[in-house]
Amino acid sequence: MAVFTRGFGGRAREQDDRLPPGQFLTEDFPVLSAGPTPRIDTDEWEFQIRTETGETHRWDWAAMQALQQDDITRDIHCVTRWTKLGTSWQGVSLDTLFAEVESGYDFVMAHAYGGYTTNVPLDDLLDGKAWIATGFDGEPLAAEHGGPARLLIPHLYFWKSAKWIRGLVMQQDDEPGFWEQNGYHAYGDPWLEQRYS
């Protein structure tokens, strides 16, 4: 049973069935990262997917731009409890990128410029659930939000949507990434409040 806090009334209640438990709405776009913002030129940017055989699929900026670009509108949920509704992105579906990748492994480790990592089951990247996003609100994605390109997995807490994405490595087992080794949940479903390990 919860302890009541004398005198606390809360604000006008945010009744919105798009808001997962424990989240509040924000209109800004907060920035959270563990270190300085890497500044990566699109000339030097490259994205890779590496499989268990060592086969590496590579896309440079031009190759990524040449692929089918999706417009994506989704709600996003940060583990620090803000939710931003109806955010609008542009990017390439991971279905498009994985169309030419053969792997028997079920898990992925996402690697970012700057050294950040986060683990995701492969199933959570496919079937229209995830993208490599290069645009936000019709503009190139700003560096502090992960530009030139970030992973976008809107149905998981937003730390899974690795900024400054540089590659995905197929993994046999679900090994923890950066925040997952630092006290946060291995999977991170906002609707189940999977915040902490």
């Binding site: 302890v3 009541f4 004398r6 809360g10 800004d28 907060p30 959270l32 563990a34 630092n182």
Partner: protein, 242 residues
């Protein structure tokens, strides 16, 4: 030593002291039986429950790093906020909240760490850095500690008296809007020359912790990288909107 266990358990906590730090900031000391201590730099989730069952949870950095069941948080009022105005203006000694934690295993300083440390705080971003200063002093650590604290004016500083008396840390004040009379550095934002002027170490690269509002942290971290700090040795914690 990683104290991140049992974080799914909410613990009742009682406000045992409340001190106004600045016109907009207040320190609360919470007694949370079973807390059992935290590392310097960790944070706690604080949950408030209204009489009708409505709950609001926010994360606050912890200013203390003691082994016991007491936690100090220092809250700055967010205009139009839901929780911070209540904690700054309304809650009283004897009132109860719930806490969960300690949380976070990255933005932390451990007494066994021996490398030189540079702490850079903006506004209420001082809170987790204060925990590090206190832990460093309590442990009698000899690792060089330098704190750069950026505030608008002298009356906006949290923990000013304690920092003035602290041993084992060299404090550099940056006033962005109004400096004290006779202060050599004119009021203005923290810039590269401020950071270049710091002789943090005898040559060894320091571990750097930067905490503050997003714009402050972005600017400081970019500047540190530009003047040659290794990005891998810079840890950041940002709060507020972009």
């Amino acid at each position: 030593m990683r104290r991140t266990g049992h974080v799914d358990v909410w613990k009742a906590a009682t406000v045992v002291a409340a001190t106004q730090l600045t016109p907009s900031g207040r320190s609360l000391i919470l007694d949370a039986p079973g807390w059992g201590g935290n590392l310097a730099g960790q944070h706690a989730d604080v949950r408030l429950t209204a009489p009708d069952g409505y709950q609001a949870v926010r994360s606050y950095s912890i200013a203390s790093a003691d082994a016991g069941d007491r936690i100090e948080i220092a809250v700055d009022r967010v205009p139009d906020g839901e929780v911070s105005p209540f904690l700054v203006d309304a809650i009283e000694v004897g009132d109860q909240v719930e806490v969960r934690g300690p949380l976070g295993g990255w933005f932390v300083w451990r007494p066994e760490d021996t490398e030189p440390v540079l702490l850079i705080g903006g506004g209420s971003g001082i809170v987790p850095l204060m925990a590090m200063v206190r832990a460093h002093e309590a442990a009698g650590s000899t690792s060089p500690f330098r704190l750069v604290y950026s505030v608008r004016s002298p009356q906006d500083a949290f923990f000013a008296d304690e920092l003035a008396a602290a041993t084992g840390v060299e404090v550099t004040w940056i006033y962005t809007r109004r400096a004290p009379d006779g202060w050599a550095r004119p009021a203005g934002r923290l810039v590269a020359t401020d950071l270049q002027a710091l002789e943090v170490t005898g040559g060894e690269a320091p571990s750097v912790f930067v905490c503050g509002p997003t714009g402050f942290v972005e600017a400081v971290a970019d500047t540190l990288v530009a003047i040659g700090h290794d990005p891998a040795r810079i840890k950041t914690e940002r709060f507020g909107g972009s």
